[in-house]
Amino acid sequence: MYKIVRKEVLNSQVKLLEIEAPYVARKAEPGQFIILRVDEDGERIPFTIADYDREKGTVTIIFQEVGATTIRLGKMTEGDNLADFVGPLGVASHFEDVKKAAVIGGGLGVAIAYPQAKKLHSMGVSVDFIAGFRNKEILFLEKEMTAVSDRLFITTDDGSYGTKGFVSDVLKKLLDEGNEYDVVIAIGPPIMMKVVSEVTRPYGIKTIVSLNPIMIDGTGMCGGCRVTVGGETKFACVDGPDFDGHQVDFNELIRRLSMYKRDEKAAIERHQCRLEGKTNA
């Protein structure tokens, strides 16, 4: 069993859990992910590692309540135990010869972009952090982002905080103003990573994206996480999850992510029924 030692509510939909998993904490690196099951009948769901503490033996995940499992996860409290927690999986991010980086997070992706910025910052890399949210209400980690970046740019879709617009607009502006980056790291919804990759393509800036396809085992066994990168099929779980954004077939990724949309909806409805004590008529 894997104990939840800390829970934070970051906004109405996004929560943070710090979980006791000493073996995982010992090896975890930014860019890697874990797979957990809430309980004995639970599905296996991957989460990118948001933080880790080797001394305390804990790993932190940040998630949005979008499906039956994440809603259930959100109901758990400090002291509760998760049935399963396996990792670290995937290849850790590599930053070599980087002096100046733009780290971009969109929505929940900010939670995963943050440890990347933190790592780069600790290596002495100059970091411009661009974080995008739908609105001010769901903004999170502002203090933390400030601490690990040279400049922080926040955007909201509705202009309720920071710059109105998308992260890609800010990046475009920075590039047009003559800012140069050795690498751009973009983490967020596939469509945002796609747009960012298109912004950097003409500039020839190396752009790393972190993909989140559907998977079961996370060790290369199911092949469900197939993504096309540079015309070749890769398994995101063992070859990624980081890939060159200029090579990724985002349309295929988005399509494959929709594979169980209907099942997810049904699962949430079932879950709501249970919560509210309704029975199927």
Binding site: M221, G223, Y260, A267
Partner: protein, 463 residues
């Protein structure tokens, strides 16, 4: 007097039209009377040709004799002496090419139903006998076993009896390897697998789930943690695809993914959290046991049409005859001498058909099977909404990529001595599909046992 009937006592089965709609076991097993009647067909040959055909040397005439005497629990104990998974082996071993093939009774008539009798003894003991397993006192030596599939379980089972402290590291949340994620419930009930694993736990074997060796710990770190030897039985878990256009369309599965969703994650159950696509017309590409399993699962999920698409003829199919027979009975449609060339998708990227060519058989190839050759202009489309690729698996690279001094061959299989399982790295032994590539449960168990003996030797000699 032995029972001289030329035929095996037949084993009751669920009716095909009933069973192809449920996930309960197909074969129902012998009653006590049937078992004794069948056991009496054994001639108790002095030279025991059957035992020589068994990769784990089950003392076959001895356990069968005990069945004739009604000593069912003793029969089970006799099997357990050399085989830690009798209920599993009685169901999934290809007896027809092993023990039963060598049975003297098979010279004229059918062999003794050794597999069915093994299954009977195991089921009887599991259901009727309250058993306590004693822990052998520890000899203070620790062995790490990577993978809890047939190879790892067999290795652990033998070593724990010799007093070794065994820890099995399993990547999934549940022990059993291919026995729980791959082989379907209707061929091998998961509760039985669990019961046979429980016996090992009672004998003192420890199992740590959620441990992906190669990621969370390397082999070298296992030695640093105080293990005296390591056995790698990590299987062949990496699915192969055909590399034809359309393989990444929505609705294309590897057999591994399809079967794991169903068997390990119970996606076939109403209200299961893990989803699976319930197709209406499904193409399973491949002709092995895994392809038969996938096809029969697909049928049980409610598919109207399930096709097996195989590029050679039925005679070359690697699946057991029994599996092919069962699949046909259940209404699986066989399209042999047929090879996919691409998968077709609709406007939204979902599978809508599979384009195939007809094949004919030419000269024999290196494997001794006649090489299939495409007939020109024979392209045709089979309308399906789901495709399951079941054309083989290869060993997972996670361990070899983090263990530089472990030699592997060009297929990624670990190089290990056939008799001992010794690898290129001192103190590291390997066996099962990780060494041979995809093979059978029983061959993996045999390799696990040989490695156990070699590990015992190795540790004793080191002192």
């Amino acid at each position: 007097m032995p029972n001289m009937s030329l035929k095996k006592v037949s084993m009751p089965e669920q009716d095909p039209e009933v069973r192809n709609k449920n996930f309960e076991e197909v074969a129902l097993g012998y009653t006590e009377e049937m078992a004794i009647e069948e056991a009496q067909r054994c001639l108790n040959c002095k030279h025991k040709p059957c035992v020589a055909g068994c990769p784990v040397n089950v003392q076959i005439p001895e356990f069968i004799t005990l069945i004739t005497e009604g000593k069912f629990e003793e029969a089970y104990d006799k099997i357990l002496e050399t085989n830690s998974l009798p209920a599993v082996c009685g169901r999934v071993c290809p007896q027809e090419t092993q023990c039963e093939e060598r049975c003297v009774r098979a010279i004229k008539g059918e062999s003794v139903a050794i597999g069915r009798l093994e299954r009977f003894a195991a089921d009887w003991a599991i259901n009727n006998a309250k058993r306590d397993y004693e822990k052998v006192p520890s000899n203070g030596k620790k062995v790490a076993v990577i993978g809890s599939g047939p190879a790892g379980l067999a290795c652990a089972g033998d070593l724990v009896k010799l007093g070794y402290e065994i820890t099995i590291f399993e990547a999934f949340h549940l022990a059993g390897g291919v026995l729980v994620y791959g082989i379907p419930e209707f061929r091998l009930p998961k509760s039985l697998v669990q019961k046979e694993i429980d016996v090992l736990l009672e004998q003192g074997v420890k199992i740590q789930t959620n441990m992906v060796i190669g990621k969370v710990l390397t082999i070298d770190e296992l030695f640093e943690e105080g293990f005296d030897a390591v056995f790698i039985g990590s299987g062949a878990g990496l699915p192969t695809f055909m590399n034809i256009p359309g393989e990444n369309l929505n609705g294309v599965y590897s057999a591994n993914e399809f079967l794991t969703r169903i068997n390990l994650m119970k996606a076939y159950k109403e209200g299961a959290e893990t989803p699976i696509k319930h197709g209406n017309a499904i193409a399973v590409v491949g002709g092995g046991n895994v392809a038969m399993d996938a096809a029969r699962c697909a049928k049980r999920l409610g598919a109207e049409k399930v096709y097996i698409i195989y590029r050679r003829s039925e005679a070359e199919m690697p699946a057991r005859l029994e599996e092919i027979h069962h699949a046909k009975e259940e209404g699986i449609i066989f399209k042999v001498l047929t090879n996919p060339t691409r998968i077709l998708g609709d406007d939204e990227g979902w599978v809508k058909g599979i384009e195939c060519v007809e094949m004919e058989l030419g000269e024999a190839d290196a494997s001794g099977r006649r090489r299939p050759i495409a007939k020109e202009g024979s392209e045709h489309v089979i309308d399906v909404d789901t495709v399951i690729m079941s054309i083989g698996t290869s060993p997972n690279p996670l361990i070899r990529s983090t263990t530089p001094d472990l030699s592997t061959n060009k297929w990624g299989c670990i190089v290990a001595d056939e008799e001992t399982g010794q690898t290129s790295k001192e103190g590291v032994f390997a066996g099962g599909d990780a060494v041979t590539g995809a093979a059978t449960v029983i061959l993996a168990m045999g390799a696990g046992k040989k490695a156990a003996a070699a590990i015992d030797e190795y540790i004793k000699n080191k002192e």
